[in-house]
């Protein structure tokens, strides 16, 4: 029974496939993997937009949207209808093809990333041997889409936004990838399912998740910070800083194309969070041995909702960074920390998983964190501004 509940979607896919003629089976198998992913994550996107607005509202002592449908939960539907029926304004001088392709490419890249994310036990669309690499390769092509959007708009704000976004994405891609290296080293595989399986089981009461190791803990937060920067979310949302450059690279997009950018951005965020779950939070594994009967996908989506909630919370808290702070943070803090983290993960392999390992790796990570933090915050703190011309 528990087994059936856990494998319900896998088994039902197999049953549906058996009903199909043999010739149609490969195509049907692909479609049966793709359509649920798109459907589920589109729904999650809709839910997240309204939850985010309500959450941000509560953080700012407001109510948030509460008009459309019960408690405002049909708001995304209304927004969707609005963006579908809006006029699609394309400025006169735009580079037509690129202007059209950019939002498509953003969405395609974001959706492709889901093909290697295990959503539950045996629930992965494409179990690649190099799954994590595939994820990052697909993520890298988003930069090109952003450039296309910014450049083809023939708009200075769009161009500036695109340049900021690309500079930020390239800078944060390095700590993003380096922070996963520890996990890849320890799990010994690049396959996402392999990494999740390496984290199954329990040592004592606690699960064998990588976040519960000193290097994994640091790596998890490094990954989350870098993923937030990759997804252009607050506090790293200066590519679309509306007080400076209108809306960044999608200034010249309206109607459904704008909605596609929006959708792609959220899909990227979900994908990054899902990868964080896969790499550090044990994927579909349950946190306690006695809760093993809960279906695996429930755990996955519970963790995903938790991380989405965290990102909403962070967005509601942090102010936007300045451009030089952003770059300094990436190159002077994130990069050294992730390198130290790789070293700590290597040491963890040899010091054993007991007290010694905790002491050595923990003090290495915490020490470098404190040292870097003190160093950066004292040496590069803002001095009293000296004006050359104004008195």
């Amino acid at each position: 029974m528990i087994e059936l509940a856990d494998q319900f979607f896998v088994l039902s896919k197999q049953q549906i496939l058996l009903l199909m003629p043999v010739a149609a089976q490969p195509l049907a198998s692909v479609l049966l993997s793709i359509i649920p992913i798109i459907g589920v994550f589109a729904t999650l996107f809709a839910l997240t937009t309204v939850l985010e607005r309500k959450g941000l509202g509560r953080i700012q002592n407001r109510l948030g949207p509460n008009r459309v449908g019960p408690f405002g939960f049909l708001q995304p539907l209304a927004d969707g209808i609005k963006s579908l029926t809006k006029e699609d304004v394309v400025p006169f001088r735009t580079d037509g093809v690129l202007h059209f392709l950019a939002p498509v490419l953003v969405m395609v890249a974001a959706l492709l990333a889901y093909s290697v994310l295990p959503l539950g036990r045996n629930m992965v669309a494409l179990d690649l041997d190099a799954g994590v690499l595939f994820f990052f390769a697909v993520g890298a092509s988003t930069e090109l889409a952003v450039f296309m959007a910014g450049w083809s708009s023939r708009n200075k704000y769009a161009m500036l936004g695109a340049m900021r976004a690309i500079a930020q994405m390239i800078s944060y891609e390095i700590p993003l990838i380096l922070s996963t290296v520890g996990v890849l080293m320890t799990a010994g595989t690049l396959s996402t399912t392999g990494i999740v399986e390496a984290q199954s089981g329990y040592s004592g009461l606690l699960p064998n998740w990588y976040v519960l190791t000193p290097w994994g803990f640091a790596g998890f937060f490094l990954f989350l910070i870098a993923a937030t920067a990759e997804a252009n979310r607050s506090p790293f949302d200066l590519p679309e800083g509306e007080s400076e450059i209108v809306a960044g690279y999608f200034t010249e997009y309206s109607g459904f194309k704008f909605a596609m950018f929006f959708f792609g951005e959220y899909l990227g965020l979900f994908a990054a969070n899902a990868l964080a779950i896969t790499l550090f939070l044990g994927g579909w594994n349950s946190p306690l041995a006695i809760l093993d009967w809960v279906p695996s996908y429930v755990w996955f989506f519970a963790k995903l909702m938790g991380l989405i909630g965290l990102s909403i919370w962070v967005r509601g808290t942090t102010p936007r960074m300045r451009s030089d702070q952003l770059m300094n943070f990436a190159w002077k803090f994130m990069l050294p920390m992730s390198l130290v983290n790789v070293l700590a993960a290597g040491l963890w392999r040899f010091t054993g998983h007991g007290f010694l390992g905790w002491f050595v790796c923990g003090s290495l990570v915490a020490g470098s964190y404190c040292w870097l933090g003190v160093e950066l915050s004292t040496k590069n703190s803002l001095k009293k501004r000296v004006y050359r011309f104004a008195t």
Partner: protein, 253 residues
């Protein structure tokens, strides 16, 4: 340092988040169409024309002098004089506007028309829910729609309205005193045989203003000067009464 500031900030936002569910007075927003913040007395949106009494045509204070039309910086007012005259609140024959249009898409709510109007005929409204489906014709407001009663003015701007009413009453009293004095002088000068015809004419002149209950005009010009101060008693009581939210504005469904 070392991320403690971030943690402090996140604790603060978490407190706000949780608190907004339990402490109602944390919420700063008002659920607009159902609840409304009472309109402040100093609020102003767009101009309207004041009329006395019941009939917006007869009681309109505007005399089509076109000062506001000339003074309006964005030139959103269009006035066309009517050839026919009508008596104003003191009974003097005055012009009236045949057409009085204000283009709300042009109006910038500067209140200059109100400042320059010598007849207290144009005032600022507080109504802000003026969205229309038609961008051009819909926002061109005509005389009929612009005319609002003095009672409305008293309701939205009680202090101003009281001052205006007192002014007008004083003016009217002065005019009446003058008229009475003139009538008395005429009566003295003229033969007693003509007195009956004068009284009849005065009665006819007072016939129109007598229908205006807002100012409660004295019935006849023969009334002594001691009486007018009692007549604007009704407007003078206004300022004390509705300084708090006017009941009709905050209608909670």
């Amino acid at each position: 340092m070392l991320g403690t500031g971030l943690i402090k900030g996140m604790a603060e936002t978490a407190r706000n988040f949780v608190g907004s569910y339990f402490e109602a007075d944390r919420l700063t927003t008002v659920q607009y169409p159902e609840e409304r913040v009472p309109v402040k007395e100093a609020a102003r949106s767009f101009p309207f024309l004041v009329f006395d009494g019941e009939d917006p045509e007869k009681g309109l204070r505007c005399v089509a002098c076109q000062i506001c039309e000339k003074e309006c910086p964005p030139q959103c007012i269009l006035i066309v004089k009517d050839t026919a005259k009508k008596p104003d609140f003191v009974g003097k024959m005055q012009f009236q506007p045949k057409i009085f249009d204000i283009d709300l898409s042009v109006c910038m709510s500067c209140q200059i028309c109100v400042e320059v109007c010598p007849f207290e005929a144009i005032k600022m409204d507080v109504d802000f829910e003026m969205s229309r489906f038609d961008r051009f014709e819909g926002l061109l407001i005509h005389k009929r729609e612009l005319s609002k009663s003095n009672g409305h003015f008293q309701k939205i701007h009680p202090t101003d309205a009281a001052a205006v009413d007192a002014n007008l009453a004083a003016e009217k009293a002065k005019a009446e005193a003058k008229a009475a004095a003139e009538a008395g002088a005429k009566a003295k000068a003229a033969a007693t045989a003509a007195a009956a015809t004068i009284a009849a004419g005065a009665g006819a002149a007072a016939g129109t203003p007598a229908t205006k209950p807002g100012i409660a005009l004295p019935a006849a010009p023969a009334v002594p000067t001691s009486k007018p101060p009692t007549s604007p008693a009704l407007p003078l009581t206004m300022p004390g009464q509705p300084t708090t939210a006017p009941a009709a504005i905050s209608f909670v469904s």
